[in-house]
Amino acid sequence: MKDKLTREEVLHVARLARINLTDEEIEKYQVQLKKLLDDVDKIKEVDLASDEELITPIDEETVLREDEAGEMLDPEEIMKNVPVSNGNFVEVPVMINE
């Protein structure tokens, strides 16, 4: 059993999370992430009484909502919480490079 993740594994996770890491951070996370994964493996060892899938602590079925419209937000109010807006649009850095 290895004691840390590879550099590539950490970079892969970082890419999925869209974050940049310094060399120092990469080394730190190689160890820390491995520790987390080991903890999860330990949980897996628990012998469950039934194999019934548990997706939520609530036993009840979902309560379905009737298809009736409720109140919505004023676009102006929404834009107050948006870092950069343009009229009624939320503006973000360009998403597609061609």
Binding site: L16, A17, R18, E53, I55, T56, I58, D59, E60, E61, T62, V63, L64, R65, E66, D67, E68, A69, G70, E71, M72, L73, P75, I78, M79, N86, G87, N88, F89, V90, E91, V92, P93, V94, M95, I96, E98
Partner: protein
């Protein structure tokens, strides 16, 4: 290169026709103003929780039943995790493990040959927000965020662009008729992703995915183009990359967007905020009984009644006309005459006025009456044209409208016989033409009689009398 075989699978996303969004009670509709149909759930504000719309389950179930799927009676939702600005929660709620329907099929017909396209699954998910891209920034409109979708995934069962187009057309027709979706491909309420590979052997080649193709005809064009591109690469001894493309209509080319992320990079896990959804048999039967007569059955019935396939298809393309005609399927009127006037003068009137047939004064009784009168020859098509506006706009009966227009239909054989003989004696040369074997001369004589009677003669009767007199 004829020795390469194409293998095609299709994923279609269709927006469901609900009043509100899937997990929030904000309005499902592209408002004129950006970000006006939005609430805190759609924006993924901290602490908000999803509440599942019952109508979404109903419509998705209807779709699954129409696609002949096995139904998952106990299902849950899953989170698909990815970071992208179109998705404020950083995960999309979808069904990865327990799609509402699995193992279904759709029957298509290409060049007279019927074929089943198997449906791998149909699952429910939420739409992302709409992004509009500019050179240096992108704009986001969350009106679309949380709009309910079903995604229908086929097996790789299609082998030509014709089959692929027939499948998309069939699915659109099914969903449109069952009132599940608007299915407007051009406006994005139905979106097609095509997976295609080519191979010379039974082993499948590496596939490319062409995303978001904007029309049914472009589905065909994109497949042909992408197949050629792949064959060209393979012939040069190069490899096809496992990647995502889009089809550019202007250049008629498939353009690479990104090399695909592997499925497990989405780190799916069950959505803990939505407990199990349980569907019972009673609910399934209630939804099944709400499925209206679908297009293929309508087509069969129309053709059985003697309507040409061309006209049957034309009526089916207009659901409101088709629903109208269906009220008379049980008999009592000549459906061929009925379909002819619906597609002809009535459609022209509806196009001109922008009305729906249900919003006119053409009641079922009036329609039945006027079709019977046309069928028996009591009125002819010219008279029908003359009274059409009144039929559509006035409460009066057909007889009252005819009388008010001062239109008199000559159906008295004695009266007509006199006119026929007058016309014959003043057109001796045409009579001789007819007797010398030029049967077309009868049309000219018919025209003269109609002119004489200002179109008010019963045409069938005139025809009968003419033939009698000429063959004396």
């Amino acid at each position: 290169m004829a020795d390469y075989k194409k293998t095609i699978g299709i994923e279609i996303h269709t927006e469901l026709k609900t009043k509100t969004k899937i997990f929030s009670n904000s309005v499902n509709g592209y408002g004129k103003t950006a970000n006006s149909n939005v609430n805190v759930v759609d924006l993924g504000y901290p602490g908000t929780l999803p509440t599942l719309n019952v109508e979404v389950i109903r419509l998705a179930l209807k779709a699954a039943l129409i696609l002949n799927c096995e139904i998952n009676k106990e299902m849950h939702f899953d989170r698909k995790n990815y970071f992208y600005p179109d998705n404020p929660k950083n995960y999309q709620i979808t069904q990865a493990e327990t799609p509402i329907g699995v193992n279904g099929y759709v029957e298509i017909e290409v060049n007279g040959e019927k074929k089943k396209v198997r449906i791998h699954d149909i699952h429910i998910e939420e739409d992302t927000c709409k992004s509009i891209h500019y050179k240096h920034h992108s704009f986001l409109d969350f009106n679309r965020a949380g709009v309910p979708l079903v995604e229908i995934v086929t097996e790789a069962d299609m082998h030509s662009s014709e089959e692929a187009m027939a499948y998309v057309e069939k699915l659109r027709e099914l969903f449109l008729y069952a009132d599940i979706s608007d299915c407007k491909i051009e406006e994005g309420s139905m979106r097609c992703d095509v997976n295609i590979s080519v191979s010379k052997t039974d082993e499948l080649g590496t596939r490319a995915e062409i995303k978001n193709i904007g029309s049914i005809s472009n589905v065909g064009r994109a497949i042909e183009k992408e197949a050629l591109r792949q064959i060209d690469l393979l012939e040069k001894g190069e490899e096809v990359a496992f990647a995502t493309y889009r089809y550019d209509e202007k250049s008629d080319q498939t353009i690479i967007m990104r090399v695909k992320e592997a499925g497990n990079d989405y780190r799916y896990f069950p959505e803990p905020d939505i407990p199990f959804v349980v569907i019972d048999d009673e609910f399934i039967e209630e939804v099944r009984s709400s499925i209206p007569m679908l297009a293929s059955e309508r087509r069969e019935k129309y053709v059985e009644a003697g309507i040409s396939l061309l006209n049957a298809n034309k009526i089916i393309q207009n659901r409101s006309l088709s629903n109208y005609l269906n009220k008379f399927l049980d008999g009592g009127i000549n459906l061929v005459v009925a379909s002819n006037i619906l597609l002809g003068d009535i459609s022209a009137y509806l196009n001109k006025t922008g009305l729906d047939i249900e919003n006119t004064k053409l009641t079922d009784d009036k329609f039945r009456d006027v079709v019977n009168k046309l069928n028996s020859g009591d009125i002819n098509s010219k008279v029908f044209k003359d009274i059409l506006d009144d039929l559509m706009e006035k409460d009066s009966s057909v007889d009252e409208i005819i009388a008010s227009k001062g239109i008199k239909i000559i159906s008295d054989p004695e009266e007509l016989k006199k006119i026929v003989n007058d016309v014959l004696s003043s057109n001796e040369s045409s009579v001789n033409d007819y007797k010398n074997g030029n049967t077309r001369a009868i049309k000219f004589l018919m025209g003269q009689i109609m002119k004489e009677t200002k179109g008010s003669a019963n045409p069938e009767l005139v025809n009968k009398l003419l033939e009698e007199e000429l063959n004396k």
